[in-house]
Amino acid sequence: MTDTLTPVLSASWGDERAWKLGNYERTGGYTALRSALQMAPEEVVGLVKDSGLRGRGGAGFPTGMKWSFVPKDNPNPTYLVVNADESEPGTCKDMPLMMATPHTLVEGVIISAYAIKASYAFIYVRGEVLHVVRRLQQAVREAYSAGYIGSNVLGSGYDLEVVVHAGAGAYICGEETALLDSLEGRRGQPRLRPPFPAVAGLYASPTVINNVESIASVPSIVANGADWFASMGTERSKGMTLYSLSGHVANPGQLEAPLGITLRQLLDLTGGMRAGHQLKFWTPGGSSTPILTPEHIDLPLDYEGMAAAGSMLGTKALQCFDETTSVVRSTLRWVEFYKHESCGKCTPCREGSWWLVQILMRLEAGQGVEGDIEKILDLCDNIGGRSFCALADGAVACVTSAIKHFREEFEAGMHTPAWELLPYERSTVFIRSEQPAGGVR
């Protein structure tokens, strides 16, 4: 690891009107595209493979390898779909990127589509973030006007259409096959696999689906080379990435650093937890990743490091909670989210989240009964790994890890309301004075 922070994607976020095409070009924008168009598509795929870039959407699947799964002999067109449906609690990296420098993504889309020989690319943006949708649409329009998109891109003979598609408000549409259904105009529910999207995805044609950050990383790899990218990060988790710091920290925000940095380093760089408070628990990658405690603060934030700790790197959304926070309460809020966002297709997710919420509400109110914790754990065992897609796995990950690390707080839920045990107003930043117990929920 050379530098602590390595701003690449976020390098120009602070510039004046960084989202305009002219400003992006002035900082070297779209030169990577010109280089890529000089290469054969297969060479671009090889370059990305060599870089070791892994999917930044959470699962960490090698991007170049994903691209090479597209069958060569399929008569149907190949599509590129960018998953910009960022909506997990705590995750906030793609939205700022698309707000600040949408052209990084657009350029990445063009290069990636060229690499997989797609003539159509779709960017599926979460529907609630209208400002982001508009900014992205504006960027795509600018790219069309400049000849970066459309027929005969930069005189190369390559044709590409890029469509920005707004979702309709469903977390499940971040699941790639549900996203495809939604993009096709159906209800967003995950599809049966196989066939996998690489073989039969959008409109039953070969489709590559990548996260915004993955695609946005591609221009820098083309511009600086695979070795440059691989020089950052750790043995198997290469490159720089965006970490999102949120919660009870002194200075929340996005930090771009090589994979493998630790939470302690990031906190040290940003001023630590809010004054007078200590870290109690944190998520490495959003609410779907099992929570960790201060004892994990020196673990490398890469795919392997988090897996070794029994968690996942996920979207690198580092939500930090201090000692004022009720684990029971935060767990309940997360599970309520999953209950609301469960698409309803499969039984364990749909029904299990319905039940979990009710038990957790009881525990939060101090009305839990003996056996509730065992029941929750058994229920989680019957949900996790039994559902149709990974949404339910995420829903139970926060529960089981919370009980694992903070069982005594759940036990307290059998006699003491969480708001009495850890008065909620203390964990807020906006209420300074003490409130009567139960005043804020």
């Binding site: 209800r187 209950k339 609301h340 364990p348 019957n382 039994r386």
Partner: protein, 856 residues
Amino acid sequence: MTVTDRKDGADVEVAEQLVTVTIDDTQVQVPKGTLAIRAAELIGVAIPRFCDHPLLDPVGACRQCLVEVPDMGNGRGMPKPQASCTLEVADGMQIRTQLTSPVADKAQHGMIEMLLLNHPLDCPVCDKGGECPLQNQAMSNGRGESRFEAVKRTYPKPVSISAQVLLDRERCVLCARCTRFSEQIAGDPFIALVERGALQQVGIYEREPFESYFSGNTIQICPVGALTSAAYRFRARPFDLTSTPSVGEHDACGAAIRVDHRRGEVMRRLAGDDPEVNEEWITDKDRFAFRYGRGEDRLRTPLVREDGVLRPASWPEAIDVAVAGLRRAGRDVGVLTGGRLTLEDAYGYSRFARTVLGTDDIDFRARPLSQEEADFLSRHVAGRADVVYADVEKASGVLMVAFEPEEEAGTLFLRLRKASRRSGVPSWTVAPYLSNGARKAGAVLVPAAPGAEPQVLAGLEEHIPLDAGSIIFVGERAAVLPGTLTAVAELAERTGARLAWVPRRAGDRGALEAGCLPGLLPGGRPLADPRARVDCLSVWELGRELQATPGRDAEQMLAAAATGELRALVVSGVDPGDFADPAAVLRGLEEVGFLVSVENRLSEVTARADVVLPVSLVEERPGTFVTWEGRRREFGVVIRHANPMTDLRVLAALADALGHDLGIRTVADARREIAQFDPWTRDRALPGGSGPSPAPATPVAPAAAPDGGRADGGRADGGHQLLLATWRMMLDPSRALDNEPHLLATARRPVARVSQATARRAGLVEGEGVRLVGPRGEAVLPVHVTAGMVDDVIWVPTLAAGISVPALGLGAGRPVTVHPAALPATPHPGAAVPVGEGALPGAGVDVQHEEQGGVA
């Protein structure tokens, strides 16, 4: 030796590649691509399931069928339990079900528990209670007591998603069987899952109810009591019902059904499981239309006419009166049989006419008919069985002529759709427009104005690929389109394609086989052939010669009855309204010297009869229907009475009293005797019918219209002359739907269809009315402009609320004058049954009230 023993591979043709998989330590070989849940069934392991259905595409939604896979066949295990309903087995795969895997067992227990979370425990009042997969599997694979102590999701209940189908959303386990059936099997995706999470539910479009002729199947495949029928809801408990396998009597498809009765009354009918015929699906008509015999019009005693009025009589008296009348008529008696009759009954009439009455005046065609048709049936249909259901899926192509499978043969429609969807079998339909049913069956339109079919069929093989692997389906309607049946036969001859004639009624094909056609003896034997007559004489042990001259067809008989040439008629199962000219039929029935009606309900015929002899309903007697394929579908008694009267017994009694021995008295007798006829392999032509019918007529073109017509079709009186296209719909106000208002309410709304250009020329406007003027009356229907329709043609349903084409004096291929008109204020009566109204999620419907209204 198994089929995989390939040491002598040259001799053993291995149709499918087999893979070896180990389930619960038992090895089994199954075709590649088999789902684990099916493979487990083969070794007798039943994995619990809800969403899985072997005839629907897998979905993997309920997660009930989880199994453990310690080895995928490559030495590596699956980290998570897998849904066996979506898991294709691989060679060397190891699978552990709930029997040998604690993980799978626990997962399944957990799934049942979760399915029951939001399921009301109203089993004691639920229609499904006692035959419920959820109930059963909760017992076999669930935990004894629920740990759920929280609040269940509740909804107002029920919601009607059509006039016939009601939805209890609380009970729904969201397995998507109903929605997948509707989309995949029926092609009517009018129901879909809406909302999300635990609030996900089956929903309909606001203004488009669940309009499907096959909707009842969703009730049957619902693994819980979420879908119920308006007709059966709260009527009976499954464990109080007695089930009897039977055969659908509403079309010529021979669908296997299961009839459930209690205390002498049929409570409901379900689809039987017959992979050769209807798989596991039946039409709503076969499912719901079984109360037609329960009205006030049911005949229970014989009636004789005295002083112009029918009065009840004893059987001996009625037989005596009938025999006296028939004696007076001598040999001048005609026999008209209809579509209600079983093969055995039809055979009885055929034999009764020939051996007792000594006449060949017998015809089963109680509908528009032609001599060309009689010749076609004799040559190409009777005694043959060239096409069966399964052939459709293997065909190189399917051509339909004068045939709308969804309306006229629902089971065949489903098979055609399956062939198109699963096997990509191409199909074409010769019709004036591409109906929704034909579209769902995957057909491409070969446009033809009614009457223009012969010209279209001549040389059709140059435009569409037809070969020996093709099948041509021709509907019974082709009888009134001159030259069409001949052209169809010639096309089949030229291309080698196989031919299948599809009648609408259950009894028609059997009647044809039994010889209920002038000039045709049982088994497709032409009366004119002396060897055919000898065959009959030997089976019938008749001492005298059969009359060798062919008799009159139904229309000729009725005409002869009107003039007094025929002095008596024996009529069974005939509705005059079905004929091309109902008025002529009624005239014949009124004028004939003596009329014997054998019937189970009062009718237009019994109203004019001198003697009425009551017979049993189909559920009260055994019999056989012959499908369009020629397949015999025997069925037994559902409701057992001490002394059920069949047409056959009536005929035997009449014969006895006339001093003859009919030779057969029971269904078993008839079956035995029918079996004595060897297959007829000689010439099949009817005498005189030396091939194509007279005058393969030029269709009546609008321009050639008489009385004041102009070349553009406009008329001096402001009307416009068009050609009429028409066919019967599956659900229409026919007597088969009597006492079944919920079903009738799902009938299609009647419309008159014209092309855009025709509408413009004739001044017709979409959604407004058109008045059709026929020789004997007129009717007004809403106009529906239909894309791709042949110009100068107007299509209307043959029978619907507000219109009866025969009653107007009209028919297919005939000119009709149309005028723009205002629509009558009243909606069509089908829509007046208001169960479907307010059928939106959240809007509970007071079904009890409707039910009382419906059954009274």
